[in-house]
Subunit: 484 residues, 4 copies
């Protein structure tokens, strides 16, 4: 309510009480003012009532909510369903304009503000999470893969002759397809085994660059967060190599914002060499629904160029989700989540190691992977070929979600390229294994339950595989990877 309305209210109920109410309103306004001034994630989270007040204020500024508006265009933010209007807080116009996803919309000052603020807050959080010198970023309502595609398409205009993308292997379909969709030929560089870890083969990368010719290479496409025993790529060395050969460098930082190690790698890469853009998932890092990503980088002009590649307006839904989430958590709350994740990673490693010993297996030694862990399944493999995949099905049925069982020797062809040892990031990893991860939002209870059920499954499997017992049909699912 404005001054005038507060004054009128004083005539209806006691002036002293109304004055206090009006002061209380100001304290919400102060939070909003601070946000508008600083463009940063507030240190302390906001209450739901401040957030909803703010979103309602934004909505009121959009033309579809003007009380006296008359619309005679083809896109007026009309909504047929009240359920739909409400779930979007009546913010209907999306973000961006036909020319640029970051542009301001004349019809929608509120949605435009939402978009600008979200990008600004997200930039702040990337800094908080460890990439202190990041210069620019924007939220895009597409998953990581399609966002990578957009980066590649943006590079095309700079490097019209290029046909290849150098890519240290990681067995995740969407990264691979991101390159195919953009129209490039991925040059898959197999990883090298160091102890249990699979790491970037820098020598081969450089050899490939020289073989193919730098000008024919669109970029190096590296990865941070990944499933153990693969570990984040050697970003510093790759970045230096990219500078040396004048090749762009795009980093897939899918769920790396949650790990200070991954963020540090990017920060270092940019310091010593070249990182043109790094892309991260909204859902995996910020606990929001699937469907958004952040494209970020160290050169504002290049990031803007990418944002101008997106033809047309876009959904504001992922931006709205991450805005609400970060305002709710505050920087403090987000940092707390990250430190809890780290602690639970330690717990998970410990518990898995203990369980492994009990079953004659071992926790693979992958100290460079800060999120994902792997436990060998040699014993199971020895018993029966099918046992490993059966374990996956059993866990799925028992509501352990996200545990990945990796058998030996799977082969898969994607868009014409055949991957041997698929899912293991390696043509011949020495043993089958099971992955678990400590990702942001995980609880101790998740760990406890998972260990209990995994233990039960392993015991049940062994019983079943033992010929002296009658076989019961434990697996209800023909094998397939249910995590990807």
């Amino acid at each position: 309510m404005n001054k005038e309305n507060f004054a009128l209210s004083e005539k209806i109920v006691s002036a002293a009480y109304v004055r206090q109410g009006s002061q209380a309103r100001r304290s919400h306004e102060q939070l909003i003012r601070h946000l508008l001034e600083q463009g940063k994630c507030p240190e302390e989270g906001w209450s739901e009532s401040t957030i909803e007040l703010f979103l309602n204020e934004l909505a009121v500024m959009d033309s579809n909510n003007f009380l006296g508006n008359c619309g005679v265009g083809e896109r007026e933010g009309r909504v047929a369903s009240g359920l739909v209007a409400r779930r979007h807080y009546r913010l209907i116009h999306g973000i961006g304009r036909s020319g640029d996803i970051a542009a301001v919309q004349p019809k929608a000052a509120g949605s435009s503000l939402l978009n600008k603020l979200t990008n600004s807050i997200v930039l702040d959080i990337l800094k908080v999470a460890g990439v202190r010198s990041v210069a620019s970023c924007f939220v895009v309502p597409m998953a990581t893969g399609m966002s990578l595609t957009l980066c590649f398409l943006a590079l095309r205009h700079q490097r019209p002759k290029a046909r290849y993308i150098i890519w240290p292997r990681i067995d995740q379909k969407s990264c691979f397809k991101a390159m195919i969709t953009a129209g490039y030929e991925p040059v898959v560089v197999e990883n090298v085994l160091e102890g249990d870890e699979l790491r970037t083969d820098l020598v081969t990368v450089e050899r490939k660059i020289e073989e193919l010719g730098a000008e024919n290479i669109l970029c190096v496409h590296s990865t941070t967060s990944c499933f153990a025993p693969r570990v984040p790529d050697r970003l510093e060395e790759l970045s230096t190599m990219c500078t040396k050969h004048n090749i762009p460098h795009i980093v897939n930082n899918a769920y790396g914002v949650q790990s200070s190690k991954c963020m540090h790698l990017i920060q270092q890469g940019a310091r010593v060499g070249r990182v043109d853009a790094f892309v991260q998932s909204l859902d995996k890092n910020f606990m929001v629904p699937v469907g958004g990503a952040i494209i970020a980088g160290f050169d504002e002009a290049f990031i803007q160029e990418i944002s101008k590649m997106y033809p047309g307006r876009a959904s504001a839904s992922p931006s709205l989700d991450v805005l609400i989430t970060l305002l709710t958590l505050g920087a403090k709350g987000y940092k707390k989540l990250l430190s809890e994740r780290k602690e639970i990673y330690m717990l998970l490693a410990q518990e898995l190691s203990t369980l492994a010993s009990a079953h004659g297996e071992r926790l693979l030694h992958t100290p460079h992977n800060p999120i994902s862990l792997a436990m060998s399944l040699d014993g199971l493999q020895a018993e029966s070929d099918k046992a490993v995949t059966q374990l996956g099905s059993m866990l799925f049925t028992r509501q352990v979600s996200g545990a990945r069982v990796i058998p030996l020797g799977k082969e898969q062809t994607i868009s014409g390229h055949t991957f041997r040892g698929f899912m293991s990031h390696s043509e011949s990893y020495p043993c089958p294994y099971i992955n678990v991860a400590s990702a942001v939002g995980i609880s101790k209870e998740d760990v406890t339950l998972c260990m209990k059920r995994l233990d039960k499954c392993l015991k049940a499997l062994k019983k079943e595989l033992n010929p002296s017992k009658s076989t019961s049909p434990v697996s209800q699912l023909s094998h397939e990877d249910t995590t990807d």
Copy 2:
């Protein structure tokens, strides 16, 4: 509640009443059953309570809502903010898998069902709206432009040699950028003036094909819905030409679903010739928030190929919005909206014609454009160069949204291509004009208000431009197109 719980309830309150309640529940279940069986938009719209019941049921089937779930993956559908969880009905997993946006997710049976059903219902509605032989479609959480880009990228693999896209000119940035982003060179074919209408120059299109060589052409990229005095492209002839030269044909049907004429053109094009895919906006046709599109076509295999081009999961938000909207409206409600739109188009044409006469202008004769209308602004132009753009600003300030004022001789360069007479789809349209449109959801009140305000603005402008009066600063906005 299941049978057991109903039985228990009978002990608490009267059995007869509970039995009636349980029957009532069945009638909701029957609606859901019908939907699952038929996969079609129900004829009668559902009540909010049935819709929410259904969405809650879907959510319960997703693993993030399993009461006993433990998650040890990197993507578990965790949500940090209750506001966010609720606004998505706790459907967090998005749609698709890393390989395919139409694929089923093991972790999310409910979201998968939502995705399949939405695509199925939308397909039904495309048929209802006039493209009876459409074979397949899918909703994609990207605006029309980016969806066109995806189509072009999918064609790249079929036509590796192609470099050009033939494009009858339409002055809308995102269509143009859709081709640039995909990495192609648009071959702009100017329109021909027939009476007041701007129509496809078929002769030049064919000449360009022959000049450049069919194998070097990725596709013809035509448009249905557009601003008058441009009219929908001659789809039948273009489709025939594409068949003849064996060139793919992609149709931008942005807001054409709402017009039986546009839909008929596509249907006819596919009947007599070749239409590989047609793309339409969700928000413009179905009154949902910005950010989604439907990619549809007559060959299921090709449409699937496009859906497999999208690397990674995607936001379910646009699918959810269109599902809720179509279930709310029912086929009947949607058809009613379409016929109301048509009626208001007639009213708008009439009113605009009357207003034009009163101000010494005329309604341009564009019978082939079923949605947009244009009124000349010759008189204004005669008074002053700036008057035309001033009118635009005045209307914006007076909360007339969507009216577009098109001055003469604007020039704009987009991604290196210079358009003369930009916004008018023509290098030299004979007169400046103003556009208004009758789009789905428009009300009679919109028309009345718009005419009243437009009348006032024209009068005010004339007064201002008349030297005998003192000039008041009517325009508060430096000119820019506020509608695009």
Copy 3:
């Protein structure tokens, strides 16, 4: 947002667009200003977004939503469940103070404002609905019966000697119990039969007053809205009689606000004689959930005295519901509902009359009852004793709700008083009958469906009762009145 925040926003997105957004905000504020100034129901209904904005503003003024509040009392508006907080818009403090349900709460300026405004708007609507000279009213979160009790308890202090309440009979339990609960002895005055109608027996009323002595009578307790063939009491004559004998007069106007006739009776009663208070249901007149009533009268001091009888704070929920509803409808919308109701009453009478003829029954002639209608069931009665009650069960099972079947000769004892011919407002009404009503919110479809089903039931019953046919068990419910 305040001025300062709009100014900051102008730096982030275009100033012109923000300015327009800020103007748009002002138009919502104007509506609120008008409400605060006038204290009347706005003529035009408000949009959901204005209503929610307003409610959020109110909530912000309550101490439980102060960002810096610290609470060390026993009642601080704390809420354990987010679901609960949200459904009440975070307005937790209820209405009133320990001394007075209409008093302002220091801790809750917003809730106090809500309470005052609701009472003011409701007063306006009572005038609009026909009681133009009503002086004061308040919403109380109790049903009509308990609200009547409160009125009687308030009168006790004025008339300490009184032991009786004169009450023209109406067969509705809660009105009777309202007197018993207040500790008085109801003096039941049987109605007189005039044609088909049951009307107030004025002679007996006066005789009872004289017999018992005016000073021993707490009040006359009359009724407007009721089930046909009873009709509203003769309020003018009763009011005059009350003035003459100096006896208070309390009117039960349960669902009479929706009928201009009932409201006219009260207005006339107050003009020519004495009406101390009239009580009406919120749910039955304003289409809100059950649980609130309005206590209104012509002497502000007496109404205030009643409001001060309510010991302690009270639920704001009914006030909130009626406030939202009246702001949504506007005076215009409410009047429209009332005139639709009247039209459907005519339709219902016509349809019922036709149906009656077809089945050899007749529509009872009750022109003084503006809401309820009755059709004789003589034929059914002739067939079998149980047939009449069976009809009631059949209709219930077929989801016809609200139709009441009244058999002959039912006897019921309530709090020691035995009513012969219970449910029919008469010791021996000449025939059994069925009631239907045209109440606010009824639709034509309700009428059509009801007639269809009633027709089917009557046919089925006759078939069943006819010995030449096999009897099927049509009734699934032992008889009881399901409408009361």
Copy 4:
């Protein structure tokens, strides 16, 4: 979804995934089954999604949500505003029937179930909180005061001759008015001072009984929870006395559920003597919005009699709130809240004692009051008469809510009875003081902030009162008790 619909879903998405979804649904159903079977508060709290699922299921059973319903009554659960419908989960019919607030409604099986279950769960929680032998209770949508009135009105029928209620003084308006409203004359028994505590004067109570004659006394009306230095009444002795004289005993247990001591007193009272009913506030004990109470007792028949006194249906809103809250918390969560409250009481006592010493005051010694504390304000009083009341205003302005400042010698007349020393429960308490309380839901932060602000205010006041300093207007509020 029912079996059939799950089966159909298996054809659309993978059968294995749907099967898992259907199992997941069963786990929600199991929770509901358990609730229906046991009628107890679940030990573990439910998730929001289970709660909403359950409420939606209940709503579906009410006739206003039947898809095929046709309504021709005067009360059909129609709702004009979608906002209103949604905030009540479409449960519109309220609770009870005209005869009895606990009765089952034929039109509303879902609402009836809600009502029965809520009463059953609340009964369970009363036991958990310490009154193990409670036999029956019901939730009533009226505040504590009006609920006490209802109890008194119910007793009237048992004791027609009675005119007095014996009431050990407690200075809270609504308890007093509860008796006045019911039409009785309160016999105020002053408390006796024992140390700092004000306790029940048993001798005078018994003397009054004998003076007035037991048959002329409706009941003894005692109180548990209250502001220090008053402490809960001596319930054991009063109960014994009531048994001896055959007088009913009604206990005002306003916010006593949260204290095991108060609950123990009631349990003991009922064990050794007579407690006919005890009444407690919903909002103060269960952190829900103001407006509901629980009437409970040890004799099911008597409690039912009270429930039958409420004439008419009633709002389901308070029942819904407490149901949602208890399902959210679970018994475990509620017990946790209670034990936290107890801990913070200790903390608050300690902090207040320290603060008192620092300012030359002292914490009054009131060990029998488990919730409220008092600190003397002798020093302030010595400085100036107005200083004590000024402190109250200052705290209010500084957003310390719930702190009560009690000056000496206030006199107030309520309904004809003059209370000397009003607010202090005593005609002449030795010193002025300030009250703070540790009520359920309080946080450590509340304590810290309150102490800080109280300290500041006391310092500021002393400065101001010191003549050597310039006086600044600290108080913005003329004195009045802002807590009542």
